[in-house]
Every structure is written in structure tokens, then in C-alpha cells.
């Protein structure tokens, strides 16, 4: 029983940072129908941005909850801005190009980021200066640290805020409208390019926050850490119904829990097999995902 609760807690924690990455994946896909292959690397960039802030300013920041918020906020601003630049430089010039060209560009951007970081920080894993050791809360024998709880709380706040933004605000309405018909949006006076930039900012900032969470959870980071999570975020987005934001969160939580249980019962070498097994299962059996509605391609 204790064991069960621990597995659920771990699954929820991992699921919550998968969700942050999956949201950005799904938002970008929703608005410009691009599978942003470099999205996982933006998450990696977030981890390194947090690492840099910590290495430079650890003394000044102390180790408390406030420090965590400051570090996540800085990582988010950094990755958000980077996402905007990436879209502007790599994707926007190809807006009307065949999708394959854009996908190849995204793969190129992914490699550029990975090896750019490898050159800057070196190829070896870095030990993350904040961890999830320290004070912990015991729930029926299971253990979750205060740092983990704080990060999960931040993730939930970010997700709720994003949901409200997309559903209720003028900018969110414009995002949803662009995903349906960008040309008609121009006739409503929507500056479509600007809204796309904002979408990249938001999606990349969430990935940045996830990067910090992952660094703290696993205790070390490296330049390839974004590769697998990018694929997992894609899996979560597909499980939930790509382009559907609540679906992406649901898919990520499902995936986090599945991995946590799968690893416990079958061993950690099976972790990624689960994710990709499910990806294949969903793509074959229910390509529209759990919450996705049938999508008709625009002409």
C-alpha cells in the first residue's frame, strides 16, 4: 500500500513536468501545424538556464522556496525568448513551404541546440545544484519532498493560468481562431505573426519550467536530455489528442503514472518502451487521442 502511494506520487510528479512540455508541443502544433522537434531541446535549455542561474547566483538566492521561484521564472523568460527567436529565424520564413521542409528545419534546430550546449557546457552530465533531497512530507509511508511539492504546485498554477488564458482572453481566442483559419483571422485584424510569437513564448517558457523541475528531480542534466522527453511530450500530446491542451495534460499524467508503475513492476529498462508502445498504440487505434475530436485537414 505504501509502495502504491509512492508510485502514484512519483508518477504525478513526472507527469506534471511532462505536461508542461506536452502543452507547448500541443500549442505549437495547434496553431501552425508544426511538430516542433526542437521543443524537447528547449526544455533542456531551461534546465541549463536554471543551472547557470544557480551556479552564478546560488549564494545570493539561498536555497528556499523563493529561490526556486526566481530560478524557474528566469529559466522561463530565457527559454520563452529563445522560442520566439527560433520561430522568427527558423520557422517563419518557411510558413508557406511544404511541411516536410519545416520538419527537417526543426530537426536541424534540435541538433544545433543540443550540440551548441555540448560545446558550451561540455558533453558530460552536470550535477544539478538544487535537488529534491531535503525536507520531505510523509504520506502513509510514501515520501515527497517540499521542493517537489512546490514545483508541482507551480506546474499546476501554470497550467491553470494557461487554460484560463486560452479559453477566456482576447489573445487566447485569437490563438484558437488561428488554429482554425489563419487567413480569416487576418480579416478580423489579428496580427497573426505576433500571436504565433506569443504562442512560442508561452510554450517554450513552460518547457523551460519543466527543465528546471527535471534537473532537480533527476539530479543531473546533459545536452541530450531533451531528446527523449520531446518524444514523450509528443506521445502525451497524441494520447490526449494533439492540439487539445487539456488532453495534453491528461496524456502526460497518464504517461507519468504508466511509467512509474511499469518501472516498479518490470524494471527501469522498460521505462521508454512504455511511452513509445503507447504512442504506437494510440496512433494505430485512436489517432485523435482521448479528448481529440476528428480533425479535418484544412485546404
Amino acid at each position: 500500500m505504501d509502495h502504491l502511494i509512492q508510485l502514484i506520487l512519483d508518477g504525478l510528479f513526472v507527469g506534471s513536468f511532462y505536461a508542461l512540455v506536452a502543452l507547448g508541443y500541443s500549442m505549437v502544433y495547434g496553431i501552425i501545424k508544426l511538430l516542433n522537434f526542437a521543443h524537447g531541446d528547449i526544455y533542456m535549455l531551461g534546465a541549463f538556464a536554471g543551472f547557470t542561474v544557480l551556479s552564478v547566483g546560488a549564494g545570493a538566492l539561498g536555497g528556499g522556496f523563493l529561490a526556486l521561484i526566481v530560478i524557474m521564472a528566469l529559466a522561463m523568460v530565457g527559454t520563452g525568448a529563445f522560442g520566439v527567436v527560433l520561430e522568427r529565424v527558423a520557422y517563419r520564413p518557411l510558413r508557406n513551404a511544404p511541411r516536410l521542409s519545416v520538419l527537417i528545419t526543426a530537426v536541424g534546430a534540435s541538433f544545433a541546440l543540443e550540440y551548441g550546449i555540448a560545446v558550451t557546457f561540455g558533453p558530460n552530465p552536470q550535477v544539478y545544484p538544487i535537488g529534491v533531497s531535503g525536507g520531505a512530507l510523509g504520506i502513509a509511508g510514501a515520501r515527497i519532498t517540499y521542493a517537489q511539492l512546490a514545483m508541482m504546485a507551480i506546474a499546476v498554477v501554470l497550467m491553470v493560468a494557461l487554460d484560463a488564458l486560452v479559453r477566456k482572453t482576447r489573445a487566447g481566442r485569437a490563438m484558437r481562431a488561428i488554429s482554425l483559419d489563419p487567413k480569416a483571422c487576418l480579416l478580423m485584424g489579428v496580427n497573426v505573426d505576433r500571436v504565433i510569437s506569443r504562442t512560442f513564448f508561452l510554450g517554450s517558457a513552460l518547457a523551460g519550467a519543466a527543465g528546471v523541475m527535471a534537473g532537480a528531480y533527476y539530479g543531473k542534466i546533459d545536452f541530450l536530455m531533451g531528446f527523449v522527453i520531446g518524444l514523450k511530450a509528443f506521445t502525451a500530446a497524441v494520447i490526449g489528442g494533439i492540439g487539445n491542451l487539456r488532453g495534453a495534460v491528461l496524456g502526460a499524467i497518464v504517461l507519468g503514472l504508466l511509467e512509474s508503475f511499469g518501472v516498479a513492476f518490470l524494471g527501469s529498462q522498460w521505462r521508454d518502451v512504455f511511452a513509445f508502445g503507447f504512442l504506437i498504440l494510440f496512433l494505430t487505434v485512436r489517432p485523435t487521442g482521448l479528448l481529440g475530436e476528428r480533425v479535418t485537414e484544412r485546404v
Binding site: 484558437r176 487567413k183 487576418l186
Partner: protein, 237 residues
């Protein structure tokens, strides 16, 4: 009467296809101008060029005294120049109310948006009944009303409608034309594109007939209605 829209020698190409070959056209203040012509004549290209989504290769477009030839689509909407596109282009997965709110995207003041949405609901009570329904579930006539309503929320000084009667039953066409007259009487100038020349010339003050990207006939609506060439080609025997 002052001129609100003035096109001089506008040329537009799609690759090799010359869609507009030196188009001259004006719309006066509070005027309803019909733009007629067969399929492929260049009518849609004309409005898309005015609204900035298609670029001209030569010529100039002036609106309300400003040169808008290379202005961005959103800055054109901000000037009160609204384009209700061919095929309505309703946001199918947004509700009727959200579609109308999006029409007010360039309006900063929420109170103004709400007031104008209420005016749309008064003009088209059907929209008020269906406010929470997704746009894609509306009938063709309702979608046209919504498309016109969406433009109204932006506060149009010049509204350009691309074939609003297309695919609608005669009774619905009459309703749509009535709404266009009402918008005109409220102060907006209108550029009305139609293949349905009969319906358009009933409400228009003036008209142009377009053929292969050029104006072939122009004049007051009652003269066009009597023009043998127009009668033969566009009004039937």
C-alpha cells in the same frame, strides 16, 4: 459626395495568371457600390487586394485619404475597412458569441465590443438565440449573418462583402440584403460583390461590371439594370 475608396490602375498576378489588369474603382461616402462579373472575373481578388491579404503589382489604393496600397491587413481593419469573405469563413469550433468577440479584435474597449454585439443581436435575433452554439453548426444563411455581424463589431466605415448571397434561398438573400441596407443607413459605405446581379442592383446606387480583370461597364444601378449588355449577360432574358 466624398470618395472613401479609390483604386487606380491596380494590377494583381498569381504567378502567371493576371487576375487584375489595371482596375479603376471608387466608392463614395455612404454609397452602396455593386461589383458584378462572372466566375473568375477578379472580384474576390479586388477585395482581397483592398484588405491587404493579396499584394498588387502596380497601381494605388487610397482609403479615407490614406495610401493603403502596402498597408498590413490588421492596420486596414483598424481603419474601419472590413472584408466579409467569400464562403463566410466562420470559425467553426468557436461559439457564435466568440466569433463576434473576435470581430472586435481591434477594438480596445470591451464596453464598445459588448454594445456592438448587442446591436448585432438586435439586427439578427437568430444570432442571439444561437450565441452559445458552435459556428460550424449554423445554416448557410445564419453563417452569413454571423459573418456580417462579425464585421459590424469592428465598427465598419467601409464594408466589403464577397458574394453574401451565394448558396442562400431567395428569402434569406432578401434578409441579408436588408441587413446590408441597414448597415449602410447607419453610416457605412458598402462594396457589394455579387454574381447575383439582380439582387445586388436592387440595393446598390452604382455598379461596375468586371471581366478578365478589367471594368467593362460602369454607371448608376438603374442604368446598369437597363443596359442591354448587362441584361443579356447577367440578368437573364
Amino acid at each position: 459626395m466624398s470618395t472613401v475608396l479609390d483604386l487606380k490602375g491596380v494590377e494583381v498576378c498569381y504567378g502567371r495568371v493576371e487576375a487584375l489588369r489595371g482596375l479603376d474603382l471608387t466608392v463614395g461616402e455612404r454609397e452602396i457600390v455593386a461589383l458584378l462579373g462572372n466566375n473568375g472575373a477578379g472580384k474576390s481578388t479586388t477585395v482581397s487586394t483592398i484588405s491587404g491579404v493579396v499584394r498588387s503589382r502596380a497601381g494605388s489604393i487610397t482609403a479615407f485619404g490614406d495610401d493603403i496600397t502596402s498597408a498590413t491587413p490588421w492596420s486596414i481593419v483598424e481603419r474601419g475597412i472590413l472584408h466579409v469573405p467569400e464562403g463566410r469563413r466562420i470559425f467553426s469550433r468557436l461559439t457564435v458569441h466568440e466569433n463576434l468577440q473576435l470581430g472586435g479584435y481591434t477594438v480596445r474597449d470591451n464596453a464598445v465590443i459588448d454594445k456592438r454585439i448587442n446591436e448585432v443581436y438586435e439586427l439578427f435575433p437568430r444570432m442571439a438565440e444561437r450565441r452559445g452554439q458552435q459556428g460550424g453548426t449554423l445554416s448557410g444563411g445564419e453563417q452569413q449573418m454571423l459573418a456580417i455581424g462579425r464585421a459590424m463589431v469592428a465598427g465598419p466605415r467601409l464594408i466589403m462583402l464577397d458574394e453574401p448571397s451565394m448558396g442562400l434561398a431567395p428569402l434569406v438573400v432578401a434578409q441579408v440584403m436588408e441587413a446590408i441596407v441597414a448597415i449602410n443607413q447607419a453610416g457605412a459605405s458598402v462594396l457589394l460583390i455579387e454574381q447575383n446581379a439582380r439582387a445586388a442592383l436592387k440595393v446598390a446606387h452604382r455598379g461596375y461590371v468586371l471581366d478578365s480583370g478589367r471594368v467593362t461597364v460602369t454607371g448608376p444601378a438603374d442604368e446598369l439594370r437597363a443596359d442591354p449588355q448587362v441584361v443579356e449577360a447577367y440578368l437573364g432574358a
